[in-house]
Point group: C2
Chain length 205, copies 2
DNA sequence: CTTGTTTTGGAATGATCGTTCTTTTAGCAT
DNA sequence: ATGCTAAAAGAACGATCATTCCAAAACAAG
């Protein structure tokens, strides 16, 4: 009969996630992971095929533990612009909770440092980005519907605009300790969405 | 009497820059650099203290060879919104010239993957971001002056907004091969700047 | 307590890293 | 041509990497 594991393996992934997130995949060594997780080399390799497999597990855990809590409301049925505002508020609160420079988003950090030939990891990152895009499109579509609706092209453009803005927010959060700047950005961004969604004539070019 | 070097060392840095840019600092090995630059290990170490010193030289070269050609017009005296539009056009043209996913900006890529304790590299990256911020503020200030002027706070907010938008553009360019999306984003972004700079009443909250 | 099984901690391993060093090659002055 | 000097090439080095393996500890069952 299998014995219960003394240290739950959810902790292993949680601690590995934190280490990968703050330090970056390539910089983290197995020795670092052993030290930070408190699990021996044998223990890690008994549950994961290797460093990369553990990292992939961390990417999934990141989705569940980090992304879902702040993003689920945007994905919810009936979500609108208020849901997007709430998402940004939660991001800003998270930025504020940390001191000093931010550590950014694990997915976007990884995207900037994976080897070009690492298709498997890239696929996982693409999944994350697709998830965000789908969520934002959901909220934007709902919001536009309350104001008479927008054509598909404009909706797609606003979805991409939102996605790119979020990329910028995460990227820039790594360079500043001043959350006020990020908050100002979010205000301008939300104003723009509000205008584009509710005053479609304003977007004529 | 010293002999003239057979292969100019500007080529060494140029080729190393390309390698670091496409592959990322930590993934690139000295063996890769030897192969990609055509310069032997001895040759590299005779000119640079090590891998990190060579990389720092590449960051400087990146400024001269990549950033300055597309950004100098924004930094020029009298630059305005047109200069920012031109900068974006040159970025988009660069995206379009490449096929497949983009490789992003060397500075922003590096920012996402340096070890937390690498203060020296971080300082170089901060210099780049400060340069961009200063350039954008220059152009935005000039442009606002033609329309009656904006207060310092609003100008600062627009500068940061521009900076964050550029971060988003570079980051997202790594995830898509469709330059049309990036172009749409730029259009919306420029519209926003135009509105904020020339219709200050629109920004009342 | 004893036995059988599982997990653990860390030594061992082969590969690869950044760096150094030695040998070979090539250029210039005499 | 010859001797001198400096650069080029890559072999060699120690350190460190991810991974494997094994002996010892910890637990469950009898």
């Amino acid at each position: 009969m299998p014995r219960a594991k003394s240290s739950s393996r959810t902790e292993l992934v949680d601690n590995a996630l934190k280490t990968f997130w703050t330090t970056g995949y390539h910089v983290v060594s197995m020795g670092d992971l052993v030290r930070e997780t408190g699990v021996s080399r044998g223990g890690i390799y008994s549950d994961f095929a290797g460093k990369e497999a553990l990292f992939h597990a961390c990417l999934h855990r990141y989705q569940d533990r980090v992304v879902t809590p702040v993003f689920a409301q945007v994905e919810a049925e009936g979500a609108g612009l208020e849901a997007i505002r709430g998402y940004l508020d939660r991001l800003l609160a998270r930025f504020e909770a940390n001191q000093g420079f931010g550590i950014g988003c694990l997915v976007l950090n990884t995207l900037a440092q994976i080897a070009p030939e690492d298709q498997q990891t890239r696929a996982l990152l693409d999944q994350h980005i697709t998830r965000l895009a789908t969520g934002f499109r959901n909220a934007l579509t709902n919001e536009a519907a309350t104001a008479g609706g927008l054509d598909e092209n404009e909706l797609q453009a606003l979805t991409e605009f939102t996605l790119i803005s979020i990329h910028g927010l995460w990227s820039f959060s790594r360079t500043t300790a001043d959350v006020t700047l990020l908050r100002q950005y979010c205000e301008i961004f939300l104003d723009l969405l509000q205008t584009r969604l509710h005053s479609p004539q304003a977007q004529a070019r």
